[in-house]
Assembly symmetry: C2
Homo-oligomer: 219 residues x 2
DNA sequence: CGCCGTTTTGAGCCTAGTCAATGTACGTGG
DNA sequence: CCACGTACATTGACTAGGCTCAAAACGGCG
């Protein structure tokens, strides 16, 4: 496997999580590359990430892909105004999520003030991230894009530690930042040569050596 | 005047609009270039556009600008999870908006199901537009960007008529699409020469002559 | 060991950006 | 009424950042 050929997640495990008085969710495990839903699918559920990373993306007719966000632990995504999902979502690595029935959304919102607030806040945070990301996509250089991305991942993956593991591969990073994998790779080696970061000979881990320099690139 | 030197809107006219049982808004008039709020300002109000167009944008330290959205009649924007606005907002031309007190937001949401739904739907639509726009910014060519933009504006400004007036100038379009004004101008003349659109010798109006061709560029 | 998926590196090209000049509309004041 | 100034848009010549195409290196795993 591993071929990134998105296989659809079909079965829900029996585990049921109770997250709030009214909001009951279904716990799901996805393995690397599994598809949670596709653009155009009926939006039967929305989701919260428990562990791992989900990539949500859109495709152009010729296959060009834009990953609009990586969703990590605690993030809520897939809430829709209409009846269809407007983007696709796949597991980056092995992922645990909780699925909430969309049909219960209005009931939840009506009855449960705490959960309502969480959904509203999560949606607003997604919007905020989208706005930041549009600035990156439209106006930053390749170096600035990577600097921003690495600093953001440090915060979100490891609570701002020096060293952490990137869950996604180069092509995911490229499709998130509006670059090619070659440019991502070249820019990272350039950062390494300048002493900004350290890449291990293998694997996906990364160390930020010179945060100051990265932050100044972040613009 | 017209110097795009954002002057701050300071005074609220006395007119008060009653839009729903619990949600009372203050009607405001802004003239071309006036600033509604800036990134970092306390988010005292959120807004609904009555007429005209608002541009919301972010700046990099060196002045590069990304306009993440143009808000037109009926659009709601400026709702924030935190206490500060995360982007700036200015009037593109003369604009009429209704301002709602943010402090009343939670009360409104609690009491008024209709208004709550409108805010949630508006926020989700803003997110949806942001996702579409990230695809455009990250993965579309200059031609595709302009084709998408023109088709979208036709729908939103004129309910999909052949002929309409663009409220914004070239530099706004460029900063929205992640291009320079030169590229916007060149691409539009290229479209004109190919018979896709017609530009008047002067002014901001535009006619779409070959929707099919534009749609195929839209990818 | 050898295959496959992934990443890195290299060489050349192209799209969009930069810099600069010209053109056009419009408002102001002589 | 016209000359001038300003804001905005168009066009041209040249440049460069990032893309394409291609090949090699690397690691994991059967």
């Amino acid at each position: 496997m591993q071929g990134q050929t998105a296989t659809r997640a079909t079965k829900f495990p029996a585990t049921v999580a109770l997250r709030s008085p009214t909001a009951t969710g279904i716990q799901m495990m996805l393995s690397k590359g599994e598809e949670l839903f596709a653009e155009g699918d009926e939006a039967e559920y929305f989701y919260e990430v428990v562990s791992g990373a989900i990539r949500s993306y859109k495709l152009l007719s010729d296959g060009r892909r834009q990953i609009d966000a990586f969703h990590l632990r605690g993030d809520i995504f897939g809430v829709e105004a209409g009846r269809e999902h407007r983007f696709s979502a796949e597991a980056v690595g092995d992922v645990q999520v909780i699925a909430f029935r969309r049909s219960r959304l209005s009931a939840i919102i009506e009855e449960d003030a705490v959960f309502r607030d969480r959904i509203m806040t999560a949606t607003l945070r997604n919007l905020q991230r989208a706005q930041d990301h549009m600035l990156l996509l439209g106006r930053k250089t390749a170096q600035e894009k990577l600097a921003t991305f690495l600093l953001d991942m440090a915060v979100r993956l490891s609570d701002d530690a020096e060293h952490f593991d990137l869950p996604m591969q180069r092509s995911d990073i490229a499709d998130h930042l509006g670059l090619t994998i070659e440019t991502v790779s070249r820019t990272l080696t350039q950062f390494t040569r300048s002493g900004l970061i350290q890449l291990p000979p293998a694997g996906r881990s990364i160390s930020l050596c010179n945060r100051m320099a990265l932050k100044s690139l972040d613009a």
